[in-house]
């Protein structure tokens, strides 16, 4: 199909040129139109004039006009004067609609950030986030103190349902994961211990590492992925849906009404889940001990009970309480800090999981060192 437009470049004088357009300029032919215009606009340089002569243009649509307006703006920014000339009334209206007869505004170009700038900004953002979490912790403590002074002001209605969702519903996954962790660790250590004829020591290794470290940590990670993400998404959606504002206007503080019940629910159920995780992990080790190390179940369990002290289990429970508080604190803080619709909810849910995972590992390391230094 022949082109419905024609373009001609006329150099009237050394510093003045014209691009003469003819026919019908349509978006359907935008690609050849753009290529041709691009070729011709390079003929003009700073201080010169390159006008668009439009008297022979019969029709122009919005897409073609958008390209011409864009080119004119670019010429102006390069210091080349350019106007649309001699258009008929209909074409002139479209030129006007697309701002082709307006002064060209200079665009503010964003300077790309250097690596150092980006690092600085990221550090400031992390510190800012930390300050917000600490501020949130302070508000939570104040709200908790308020509830202790006046227990009837607490919102306990949500507590059982939250405990069920975060606790009972998580039991199967906690049991399976910790059983498999016990199995995997026992397999890894069995090969080494067998060489020294110290098969029975697998019970020591599994019992202590599961009760002191892995049981509470794996439980907290699962709770973070299930309940932490759910809390953040739930509160985030309430925030963007203005439900939190509505609660505030009705006199309910989000701390007492939403955050405290969730924090209490996790602080109650996570230690219980951790105990369950300890049992599942030990059973995983037992399964490997019995099937691959020729140990009897009685011998394995006796060895476990002899080696694992009350403090080994208790220290894991202490850790799980701290983990539960951290998960609830970060998830609720991130949820309530949500802004910006569905995308904001997704962003905060993701950051909840990432920040919480990092924090859990950090807390675990700090508490482990602390217990060791304190001789516990």
């Amino acid at each position: 199909m022949p082109s419905a437009f024609a373009i001609e470049h006329v150099q009237a004088s050394t510093d003045r040129g014209e691009i003469r357009l003819r026919g019908t300029l349509r978006f359907a032919e935008a690609a050849p139109l753009w290529t041709e215009l691009r070729r011709l606009e390079t003929t003009a340089s700073r201080g010169q004039t390159l006008d668009f002569e439009m008297s022979a243009v019969q029709r122009i649509d919005g897409g073609a006009m958008a390209l011409l307006a864009c080119l004119r703006a670019e010429l102006h920014r390069r210091g080349v004067k350019s106007e649309f000339m001699a258009a008929d009334a209909q074409v002139q209206r479209i030129i006007h609609l697309y701002g082709g007869d307006h002064a060209v505004r200079r665009l503010k170009r964003r300077r790309p950030l250097g690596t150092l700038d980006q690092l600085g900004r990221a550090t400031v953002a992390i510190l800012h986030e930390l300050r917000l979490v600490l501020g949130f912790l302070g508000q939570l403590v104040v709200a908790g103190a308020g509830v202790l002074r006046s227990p009837r002001s607490a919102n306990l209605r949500e507590l059982p349902a939250t405990m069920e969702r975060s606790g009972a519903d998580a039991v199967p996954v906690i049991i399976v994961i910790n059983f498999l962790v016990g199995v995997a660790m026992a397999f890894q250590s069995a090969a080494q211990l067998k060489q020294f004829g110290a098969n029975i020591l697998v019970a020591d290794l599994i019992g202590i590492s599961i009760c002191r470290e892995l049981g509470p940590l794996m439980t907290a990670i699962v709770v973070c992925g299930r309940s932490g993400a759910a809390f953040a998404a739930e509160l985030g959606f309430m925030q963007v849906n203005e439900e939190i504002d509505a609660l505030r206007t009705m006199g309910f503080g989000p701390m007492r009404y939403l955050v405290l019940p969730r924090a209490v629910a996790l602080i109650v159920v996570v230690p219980l889940l951790s105990l369950l995780a300890d049992v599942a992990g030990v059973l995983g080790g037992l399964a490997v001990g019995v099937t691959t190390l020729d140990l009897t179940a009685r011998a394995y369990l006796n060895q476990t009970m002899r080696v694992v002290s009350v403090w080994d289990v208790s220290s894991g429970i202490v850790k799980s309480v701290v983990f539960a508080f951290a998960v609830a604190l970060i998830a609720c803080q991130q949820g309530l800090a949500t802004s910006g619709g569905a995308q904001g909810v997704g962003r905060r849910t993701t950051s909840t999981v990432v920040i919480t995972m990092f924090t859990l590992i950090l807390i675990d390391a700090v508490l482990t060192i602390f217990f060791r230094v304190a001789g516990l």
Partner: protein, 248 residues
């Protein structure tokens, strides 16, 4: 006389056992602003979903320039659609939203696409918001960005779902003026779903009015003429309510 751009013949829409509208027949001429009117729940927005091919009708036919719209088949769109909320993709900036159909359906180089996007955004008054995310825009800005995106491929036909709903009066008037400009200067055809009669009296050239009870079209024609001459009590009360509000 030229063929109508848009033909709807004996259209029955709904789902399962529920019929929303029955045996609707109407035509839309090129270059007109056509309004689909009716009270809440009468099926205006549902009808729009069928007109743009997002749903398949129970019976009847819809043709745009002789082609039945069907969004289940991917391909270059025959028309632009602005949804009630603007429906911008939340993970893209405003400019990226407008550029999306151009990148998908044209062979234009990146600088030409950038130029078209800038011009479209300038057209709807959002030039300075090009790099902003949809979550940073007001409702009116989202709608205007939605119009810019719907216009990106230079369609002759635009569908607008409740363009003035939720806007302040100044933004609503500005949007009406933009629609009028695009219609008069570029000859675009608009199908507008609305119950904002102030807007319809200003921009609408013809309309149909849907009724929830009878599940049918109860009036058609120029909205101003219908307002002044219709003897149907349902049509009368629909327009009269606005008159009373204006008078009070």
């Amino acid at each position: 006389m030229t063929d109508p751009l848009f033909k709807v013949v004996d259209l029955t829409i709904g789902w399962d056992e529920t019929v929303v509208q029955r045996d609707a027949t109407f035509e839309i001429e090129r270059g007109e602003i056509f309004a689909i009117l009716g009270g809440s729940g009468c099926g205006k927005s549902t009808l729009l979903r069928y007109l743009v091919g997002l749903e398949m009708p129970i019976s009847g036919s819809i043709t745009i320039d002789g082609v039945a719209p069907d969004q289940s088949v991917p391909g270059r769109p025959l028309f632009g659609v602005m949804f009630q909320s603007g429906a911008l993709l939340g993970s893209f900036t405003v400019a990226e939203n407008v550029a999306l159909p151009l990148q998908a359906w044209t062979a234009l180089p990146a600088d030409a696409i950038g130029g078209i996007v800038a011009a479209k955004l300038r057209l709807v008054g959002l030039e300075s918001a090009a790099d902003r995310m949809p979550s940073e825009l007001s409702g009116g800005m989202c709608k205007r960005a939605g119009i810019a995106r719907a216009m990106a491929l230079e369609p002759d036909l635009l569908f607008l779902d409740e363009p003035s709903a939720g806007l302040d009066p100044v933004s609503a008037v500005e949007l009406d003026e933009l629609i009028l400009d695009l219609n008069q200067q570029l000859g675009l055809t608009f199908v507008v779903v609305t119950h904002d009669l102030d807007s319809i009296f200003k921009i609408g050239k013809s309309c149909i009015m849907l009724d929830r009870e009878s599940k049918s079209i109860i009036a058609r024609g120029d909205p101003r003429v219908l307002r002044d001459t219709s003897t149907d009590p349902r049509v009368h009360s629909f327009f009269n309510r606005v008159r009373q509000e204006v008078a009070s």
